[in-house]
Structure formats: C-alpha cells, structure tokens
Amino acid sequence: MSRPTLLSGWGRTAPTAAHVVRPRTLEQAAEALAQAGPRGALARGLGRSYGDAAQAAGGLVLDCTELTGPPRLDTERQEVTAPAGTSLERIIAHLLRRGYFVPVTPGTGHVTLGGAIAADVHGKNHHADSSIGAHVRALTLLTPAGEVHRLGPDGGDTELFWATVGGMGLTGVVTEATIGVHPVETAYARVDTDRTRDLDSTLELMARTDHAYRYTVCWVDLLARGGSLGRSVLTRAHHARRADLPAPQRRDPLRHRPGAPLAAPPWAPPRLLNRWTVGAFNTAYYNAAPLRRRGQAQPVSGFFHPLDAVQGWNRVYGRHGFVQYQFVVPFGEEDVLRAVAEGLAGAGAPSFLAVLKRMGEPTPGPLSFPRPGWTLALDLPADLPGLARLLNGFDERVLSAGGRLYLAKDSRARPETVHAMYPGLSAWRATRARVDPGGVLVSDLARRLELV
C-alpha cells in the first residue's frame, strides 16, 4: 500500500495520517472500500470541514474529488444531477449559464456535492429555504458491504436517506446526487446593506426584516469595545431581475466570471492575527460599509463566496491553525449571543469574520445541525491561551439553552456535550449499524466525539 498522507481540516489543526485513494467511478470506490483494513475507511471531498470530520487516522481515505463529470440539468423537473465529487462552484457555473441556480450554497463554492449533503450545509437563505438536505431529490449511497442504495426523501429507505443527510459520511460514500434548482434571470444579487451600532439593534433589525429577503447574513464586530460591541454590517438580498441591472450588465445578465483567485502567502508569522490587527481590520471593514444602501447589483460569486477570491486564506492563521466555533440557539435565547460576545471581548479573543444568521425550518436528519434560531459562527486562532476553557464555557450555555454545535465546524468539543445536543444520535447509530455492521466507516471526528 502507498505511503500514508497527512490530512487535516480547513483549520489546519491536529493532522493525522491515512492511506489515500482517488476513485473515479462508483466501481473503483466500491473496490477501494472493500479493501479497508481494521482502521476503517472514509470519504473525503475538498477538505473544507474545519476540524477532523474528513480524516481517518491510520485508515483508508477515499478522496472523491475525481469522482466528477458534467452536471446534467433537467429543466422540466427543475433539478440537476452530478457525481458527488463535483464542486458546487462547477455546478453553479453550469447552471447559471442556463439560467438556473442551486437551492443552497454555503460560504464557499469549494465543497463537493457529496460533502455538502454529508454536512447538510446551509447558506444565507436558511430562514427561507432550509438546508441542502431539503432539496435533495435522490442520492446514490455506496456502503462498505458493497451495496448500492438509491435513496430519496419520498419513499424507500427514508431512514437511511436522512441518516446520510448530515451524517458526516458515516453511513456510506455518496457517489451521485440530484438536487432541485430554481430559475434566475441574472447572475447577480440585488443587495441591501445596513450598518448597525450595537448587538441589540442588529438583532432587532434582523428579526424585523429577515422574512422580506431570500438571503440575509450579518457580519458582526466582536472586538468593538463597550457600547459598540456587536456592531454589524447586515446584507440582505434577492436574485436580481434583469430590470434591476445597470444597462451595461443587462446585455449579458447571466455572465458569470469569477476572477482568478489571488493566492494567500504560503506562510504567515505566528500570531499575525491578534486582537490589535483583527480589531483594526474589523474597524476598517465596519467603517467602509455604507450606513444604508439599497439595490446594489453584485455578482453572485462575490455575494455568496467572498473568501473564494483568496486561495488558501486559511494559511494566514500561521502554523498553529485556527478553530471555527459555530452554534445555534433557539429564538428567545438571545442572552447566549450576548454572553458569547461579551466572553470573547473580555478574553480579548481576536474573532475575525464572526457571522450571525437566523435559521428556519430544519431537515429530519438526526445529525443535521440547523434548528430554528440564531446561529453565530466565528474563527479563532488555535494557540490563543485559555481558548479550551472559554469555549467549554460557551458549550455549557449553548447546551442549557437547547442549542447545539455544528459537527462540520467542530474540532474540540467534548463527547458528552455533543451527545446531549443531538438527541437523535442513538436512532442514527441504529440506522448506521444496519448498513455498516462491521463499523468500517469512521473518522477522527467520530472517534473523538464517540459518535460510532
């Protein structure tokens, strides 16, 4: 067998070694899976999970990024089918040219379709359209026994379907999927931007106006001092109609040309991102945003995937890497948001790019993250002193408020905390045991959090 390869998540923490194979077809994937040893096997996509969800120490990792092919759009049924290793970026480019768009995209297009389903990803339209699992019409799941299941939400083994949506790759390898799409007139978003002065006014404005927009997201400054804590830049949008575009763009409204990405430097000094540099960035970003702007036409790539413009931006955290912390708490538990904001500010924790969003209807997936309520996501350098204790304290607040952490982001929670946050875990385990009785499918995340 080949030499092991070190794999880590997007946060570049806790790498472990695994044997990597790159299947191009379902048959090759089945062949590889059959050869898994005692350390198990796991599918991996583009490695955008922040923590250890897509690594399997000592095991066999099926890198599915070559499991690709041209997306197949069915305009009559308004759905697209693609091999699971196809990136959302590629699917979006294919669809936009033909006047369609994906139902859900996370903050990066650099995720595979299979990975997006395994994490049941959400986007800026969660409050309106739920997560990607709600739009999956069919998927093909390969299990360690070599069985190929055709699954969907409307019939057959729906239990296995929902165990797979949000199942973090632990029920099998998704090899192909069909998702619903919707028509768009342009490749632009019509964006309204508002700046708020503190956390309370941010929450109030979002609660009052969210329902009027398909897409909303809020960038929060969690380093601003005193009365300005939680000041925000709120952007809300719809797909732009042709008539919304300025004359020059109106001639070619579906033109979609995301610029070639800039590359982040290969190395950054440790502690480059600290409370001072991040504080200065946050202040500059906040002040550069308009107080109130209406109807700005923005290309979808810039609106949905701003960070995709910088290749390898995760390297700016230096060699110690970073952790992302994302939780959701039900509406009415806004005090948890305040406590987290104050806890971070009090610790001087440089949280860059904190993102606040309201979530809507969940999917039935037992391990799927989204629940109706407020979700906050933030990045922190992994070498910040006292970080473990700070985040453990937040976990307790989130748990007692009836909230939960996002498995695709987690890299440090304790097993008992996560078990209490996901009451569907035991039912999910039973479903998984049915298709993987030998326990072949495993990840570092699953081992660390004792999911399997």
Binding site: P4, T16, A57, R319, A388, L391, R412, R414, R447
Partner: protein
C-alpha cells in the same frame, strides 16, 4: 484523538509510579484526558486519587522494564483497555549510587538495561502502534545527565545518553506518519528517586516538568528542557574542556 486545542483522550504511563510521569499524566487529565493506564512492575493497585477526582478512569497494567520479550504484549494490552494511545509517557528508570555501581558491575548492567534497553524494546513497540494508528505522541523522559555524561554518575548518564539518541532517531523514523516523539530533558528534579542526590542548580519540580511537556505537546517541538534555561546552560557545558569537565565534583 488529540483535538485542535491539544486535549487528548487516553494516556499510557510507562513507569506508573514515576512522580514526573504521574505529574504529566495529571496535567493531561486536567486538560481533558479521560482514560489513564498506569503500567509498572506488579501493576499499580493504589492509583493517586487525583485522577478519579478529576473524572478520569485509571487502569493498572503489569509492566516489567527488564522483560523485553513482554513489551509488545504490554502495549497491546493497553490498547485493549483504552483503544487508541493518544499520549504515551515513557518515564520509568532507576537511579542508584555511582560508587555502588562501580563496586558491583552486575547491578550497573541491570540498571543500564532498565534505563536504556528497556526503553528500546517498549519504545519500538509503542512506535509501531502509533504508526498503525496514524496519530499519537510518545513522550520520552531523557535527562540532562545524558547530554554530556559526567564522571560523578556515568552509569546512569550513559544510559540516558543512549536513550536520548534512540528517542531522536525514533522521532525521525516517525516523521510523516502522523505520530511523533517528544524528548524531555529535565535537570535535577526532587523526587523519591533522586532523594539520595544533592540538589543541582536550576532544579525543577515534577509539576514544572509537566508544564514544559504540555507546552511542547501543544506546539511542534521535538525536544524540550525543564527548566528551559538548561538548554543554553548545557550548550555552554558541552564546550567545557575535558580537563575541567573531569574535575567537576558532581
């Protein structure tokens, strides 16, 4: 598994009664470890109560440093007890009187077997398991006594010199495997084992050694010194002319 902030789940302590080893294990438990295996000759029937108080389960394991033929089985038994070995602390050793060693070559050879060859057989067994796991850390308690061997304790010092070299080579052999070795070089540490030795300059407590180990495991260090000042001190010591070095009283 080690998490992104350096917490681990399991600790195997080879030398389950070593004060330094126990201090390191306690530190790892305070940082989140939940299972501790204490391996020593005859097992460890009365584990320190601190582990249970902190919510970690302890397990006792028979381990004889001199019985090299049992070491692979000892490592396998630890895996059987707790699963993946996240951190293995290799802390066993004996420290006798140099004058007695000189008078009794057989006892000197036996001490050298514990302090050096015992680590070779168990270290290679641990390394094989960590390589198979694709992750994990082996913490090897070396000593400044092995950095430059002194007239006053060359039986112990030479074994530590061998151990230190072995651990460095093992670390290099594990490069790229997901597993790693952390070599720890403490100076004088006041413990039961060193009771009969006069304190040396720059002493450390077992807790201070644990601090240094914890910090080393969080980062990407390959060698750490306890206290840290010993690194420049010994850089100087290595330069000292032999004629002077030989005359050092201790």
């Amino acid at each position: 598994m080690r998490d992104s902030l350096g917490s681990v789940r399991t600790v195997l302590l080879l030398g389950g009664r070593s004060e330094i080893g126990l201090a390191v294990a306690e530190r790892l438990v305070r940082e989140g470890a939940r299972e501790v295996v204490l391996a020593a000759r005859g097992g460890v029937g009365d584990p320190p109560s601190v582990f249970e108080a902190l919510g970690a389960a302890t397990h006792s394991l028979e381990f004889d440093a001199e019985a090299a033929d049992t070491h692979a089985a000892t490592v396998a038994a630890a895996v059987e007890l707790v699963g993946d070995l996240d951190v293995v602390v290799d802390a066993f050793g004996v420290l006798g009187e140099q004058s007695e060693y000189e008078a009794d070559p057989l006892s000197a050879a036996r001490a050298a077997a514990v302090n050096y060859t015992g680590h070779v057989s168990v270290g290679l067994s641990v390394a094989a398991r960590l390589r198979e796991q694709g992750h994990g850390a082996l913490v090897v308690l070396s000593s400044v006594a092995g950095v430059r061997v002194r007239r006053a304790n060359f039986v112990y010092g030479s074994a530590k010199a061998g151990l230190d070299g072995f651990a460095q080579g093992l670390a290099d052999s594990l490069h790229g495997s997901g597993a790693r070795v952390l070599v720890v070089r403490p100076g004088y540490v006041a413990t039961q084992m060193s009771r009969h030795v006069d304190p040396a300059p720059f002493p450390a407590t077992p807790g201070q050694v644990a601090d240094v180990v914890s910090r080393g495991l969080r980062g990407s260090a390959t060698t750490v010194w306890a206290p840290r000042v010993l690194q420049p001190v010994f850089a100087g010591m290595r330069m000292m002319p032999r004629t002077l070095w030989r005359r050092l009283g201790r």
